[in-house]
Amino acid sequence: MKASWLIALLAMLVAGLGWGPAFADPFPTIPKAKGERCVEDPQYMRRNHMDILRHQRDDTMRLGIRTTKHSLKECVSCHAVDGKDGKPVTVKSSQHFCSSCHEFAAVDIDCFACHASTPEAKR
């Protein structure tokens, strides 16, 4: 009697701890980039990409330094995700590299109010 009660309790605990559907995938699905490796360590990028981009933006805009290593244009083209029509999706799509994480983190970005969120199609 005592043993069956224990087993029932254990079963309840396991059910409670088990990953339900809501917790099946607690992290956003980040699309893979085209390049071999990122310009910086991915862990570093996750935490510091905004500072890198801001630094580069002032260098480029104010001074005319146009190195490509930390340029938003390069990020966008390497991390482009093709949609069903074979064309890169814009930031409006949840598939977009930036959106995939920023939607999860609920952090709005306004970069793409002005900047292109897709690489340029051939003209």
Binding site: D59, R62, L63, G64, S77, T90, A113, C114
Partner: protein, 240 residues
């Protein structure tokens, strides 16, 4: 030239002479700034516009500017952005007609920079006057201060901007002298598109450059020189 040479053949040979401007382009390419170097104050980029070569029915420079910078129309000309305007002039005294492109004159002492409350309007070391949209608040003081009416305000949300030319609603914008092209050693889009060779681009500070030589030898003027802004865009044949 023999008497039998047709006017057409003469014009063809003349245009071939214009085509030899290509070495001029390579000269500028040789000056292309290394990507990791900032723009230098040793250089001052400018343009000389020969109004005698500019025809009233041509707007190739405006078209090229629109394509290069992704300037589209919303079908509302009053608020559509305009980085270059073609201005047609007729002399009241003589009836002489002139046509010329007017864009940001990239002043040495730009009034737009003086009035900007945030520092968004600024002059680069090489004399190119730009708007830093990251800190532009869209107050439009610069538009009022500019004697050349050279700046536009973006009134509507935009899509499909060109990657090299970010633009967005709520910011003031204007001719960048194609800084993104100049940094790569290319000509501004308008100068490249001008088939009659009316737009000469180069370094005003380099005494050997074609533009500096022409400024030295030909009668040229600035628009509204009395303002003493020392513009980088100069005009030839502008004497009405």
């Amino acid at each position: 030239m023999s008497a039998t040479t047709s006017r057409r053949a003469f014009l063809a040979s003349a245009s071939a002479a214009v085509a030899t401007l290509a070495p001029g382009i390579t000269l500028i390419a040789a000056q292309a700034k290394p990507a990791d170097q900032p723009a230098s104050s040793a250089v001052r980029w400018g343009m000389l516009i020969d109004t005698t070569r500019c025809s009233q029915d041509c707007s190739a420079c405006v078209g090229a500017c629109n394509v290069e910078n992704g300037l589209g129309s919303h079908g509302r000309p009053q608020t559509d952005p305009q980085w270059i305007r073609k201005v047609d002039l007729t002399s009241k005294r003589t009836g002489q007609k002139l046509s010329l492109p007017v864009m940001c004159q990239h002043c040495e002492k730009p009034p737009c920079v003086d009035v900007c409350p945030t520092g968004a309007s600024f002059k680069r070391q090489d004399g190119i006057v730009l708007v830093d949209r990251h800190i532009c608040i869209g107050c439009r003081y610069c538009m009022m201060a500019c004697p050349y009416k050279a700046r536009s305000f973006v009134h509507e949300s935009l899509e499909n901007q060109r990657p090299h030319q970010p633009r967005g609603k709520g910011c003031v914008e204007g001719c960048t002298l194609c800084a993104h092209r100049v940094d790569e050693g290319k000509l501004p889009a308008c100068a490249e598109a001008c088939a009659s060779g009316a737009i000469l681009f180069g370094d005003l500070n380099d005494p050997k450059s074609e533009i500096a030589q022409k400024l030295r030898t030909l009668p040229t003027t600035q628009i509204r020189p009395e303002l003493k802004l020392n513009t980088a865009v100069r005009y030839g044949g502008l004497s009405i």
